[in-house]
Symmetry: C4
């Protein structure tokens, strides 16, 4: 287990990469959990410019979303994070994003099914939380936890996504994979009906390719890109969502 200081460094780095990739902006937040101390570290809420986020900017809360330190408050949708950290042992890191393409599956009436080998991570499906509101109460958080079950991610109707993982590298990689697969699905759909990766093929792929090593390499790669990033939104503009 990382020290809390090391965790916060990684949380800041992960979030800066999400900003660089256009997956976090005005909205969106990421958290990590220390299960022994039952403490949550979460990125600051709506409106903060996270392109230069540092460890010291994180908000520390308990599992009831109460800030334990400093003056900042947790983002209003903190129950997303606390509900998942509290109920799933394998949810030590949680991201809530409004990624441009995966969110399309929270709008179109169509179930997400992976079309790429890497997308086989999500062969179990990505369930939909269908209530049309922000997750601002513990009760809503618990309902979300129930919807997501033991899956890696959920779609929030007309809103965005939630991705969970055992650590930040896994959450980063899984979020990027989900976005990539959703983008290819949306773009390939204009060419004809899509071919999916079956559950059996997904299992065979997962048996061959270790997620952990793959996620770590992606982390290293994007960290290097982030280190030389010019802090400009590359389109010259930042999406409103995320």
């Amino acid at each position: 287990m990382d020290s809390e200081s090391s965790l916060c460094d990684k949380l800041a780095a992960c979030t800066r990469i999400f900003v660089m990739q256009g997956l976090i902006g005005l909205f969106g937040h990421v958290s990590v959990y220390d299960p022994e101390a039952k403490r949550v570290f979460i990125t600051p809420g709506m409106g903060s410019d996270k392109a230069d986020l540092r460890a010291a900017d994180m908000v520390l809360t308990d599992l009831d979303g109460q800030a334990l330190d400093g003056e900042q408050r947790a983002p209003v949708e903190w129950p997303i994070h606390t509900a998942l950290h509290a109920t799933r042992e394998d949810a030590l890191a949680v991201a809530h994003l409004h990624t441009p393409y995966a969110t399309l599956f929270a709008i179109a009436k169509r179930k997400f099914r992976p079309v790429t080998l890497q997308g086989a991570l999500f062969s179990g499906g990505v369930p939909l939380y269908s209530e049309a509101h922000l997750i601002t109460t513990p009760a809503r958080g618990r309902r979300l936890a129930k919807v997501i079950g033991n899956k890696r991610a959920a779609l929030l109707r007309g809103h965005g996504i939630v991705v969970v993982g055992r650590n930040l590298a896994e959450v980063l990689y899984a979020s990027l994979v989900l976005e990539d697969d959703a983008k290819k699905s949306a773009q390939a759909a204009s060419l004809g009906s899509l071919g999916f990766i079956s559950l059996e093929e997904s299992r065979a792929f997962a048996a061959e390719i270790a997620l952990e090593r793959r996620a770590q390499r992606a982390w290293d790669y994007f960290s290097r890109l982030e280190a030389r990033w010019d802090r400009q939104a590359g389109t010259g503009r930042m999406e409103l969502f995320p």
Copy 2:
């Protein structure tokens, strides 16, 4: 109420953010209104490079579009602004834009309906001004005001959009939301039929989430991005419209 000098500073900032976001360019203009003095401040017309716009660049007119000061003339579509400022008390700020995605709803034969929670701002609909010309006369302006009624925005057929608000932060936020929702609609449509946010859900969402605070945070966020923007069109190219 802001002083006129402060209003002009904000008008310049708002417009620079629209440029950064690719929502104003060769065309498009934004105005604010001082209802006591019955004076309109409006950005300069077609062709000016607004990436470095300052308060001193604004054109001051009366409600008849007559410039009251300096040598610059108001953009030829000034009647959009004066008609709305004159007839709606809640239209203290008005933007006329040709945003890439919302304008698609002024082309395709399909009514705009929100697909995102934030888009619930527009749950009342976005009416269409169906005449195929620029709004260059007071009579056309009045017809536009009639079409838009008490709504937040209107579509101009084959042309662009008009967004009104009580202040510039509200107009900025509403414009970005409309563009984002329209973009997601267009992109999700390739995946299947769309799910909309119902009027009832929109009302429930609006009751929970204060627009004013949300708009202010978006303003602060994009202001920070604009302050470190490199003035390059991020795509290396600027859309003709806007």
Copy 3:
């Protein structure tokens, strides 16, 4: 009439703007014609990096495509330019481009019809040259001139577009308008059937709005952007075509 030196300056500027806008790259060329001397000035051929093009880089040819000066040769598709300069008095400037969106109408089996007010420039239609080859001979050039007739532009099947105008500002503006209208058509099509600007509406629009003034303002605007352009392909990548 501009002096030849001034014409070449403008030709270089126009081409740099096309590069900035992503409408010329590895391929594509622009020419101007001096009808008294019967001399053609044309940008260098395939493979030259035109982001910093200067007047001295132009190739001077006669109407038979013979270089009259220096060591450079005209692009292999010079007959596009000479055929149009020779046969149309109003074709003093000609651009051959492979713009990403207008070219889609040279691929999909669908006639181009304008969906925007500005696109009314092309209300007469954009005819298709349907032979699948490059325009590398005078005979092909003449057939193209016959296809284009008195229209502003033609589509080259599976290839690109040709735009003509009385001067470079008109060609620049018309090319940008055609690309913008084609882009909106392609993107709006996912939302439903499109509404077009009728011939009658186009005429009424043209009667109100002077093309010349509009083209000049667009020229001034994009010139200012080009002056502060960082010479990077804004997407970090340059399209192969154009």
Copy 4:
């Protein structure tokens, strides 16, 4: 034949251009083959940042994928390269990419057929390797070689593409052409059914236009762009794949 040192310089340059164009990133690799020494030079594997790749970074292997020098290992999918280098005399350069648009044809149930004149390079078709796994064994490599036959490229289902050529310039140009043609196919499809370049038209085009000269000019052009590239992913973000 280039010296091995010159080959490695070119391999590094080609790969940097692929990075600039957004066609190689976290994943993807390129190789060249010295048929006399039966030695393969291949770019480093997953996760390396190839924006500044140099000749000294290449991995040298034999046809069994065994590294012959240094500490680096070949990418896990080395059998793609060795199988093609070993069995096709005209496959002296091989790229494995996950290009955003060509990969759509490895997802949608639709055969690739060229829609552009340049795409006529692929008039023979682009066969599909339909097994859902990475090419990590010599047996899989041999099956891929059988699928690709004497064609220029293959699609890997739910995964990416393989492009072969007699040299790196040819592989670069062919990869860019395939991506461009696939992009136009996907985007034009929203406008209606597509017109293809027939086999007969393709042959006529190829007879007129020499691939070798064309590929060399594209190489020179993109080399010049790469020399002034700012090393930023132009979208401000790098696709996960490639």
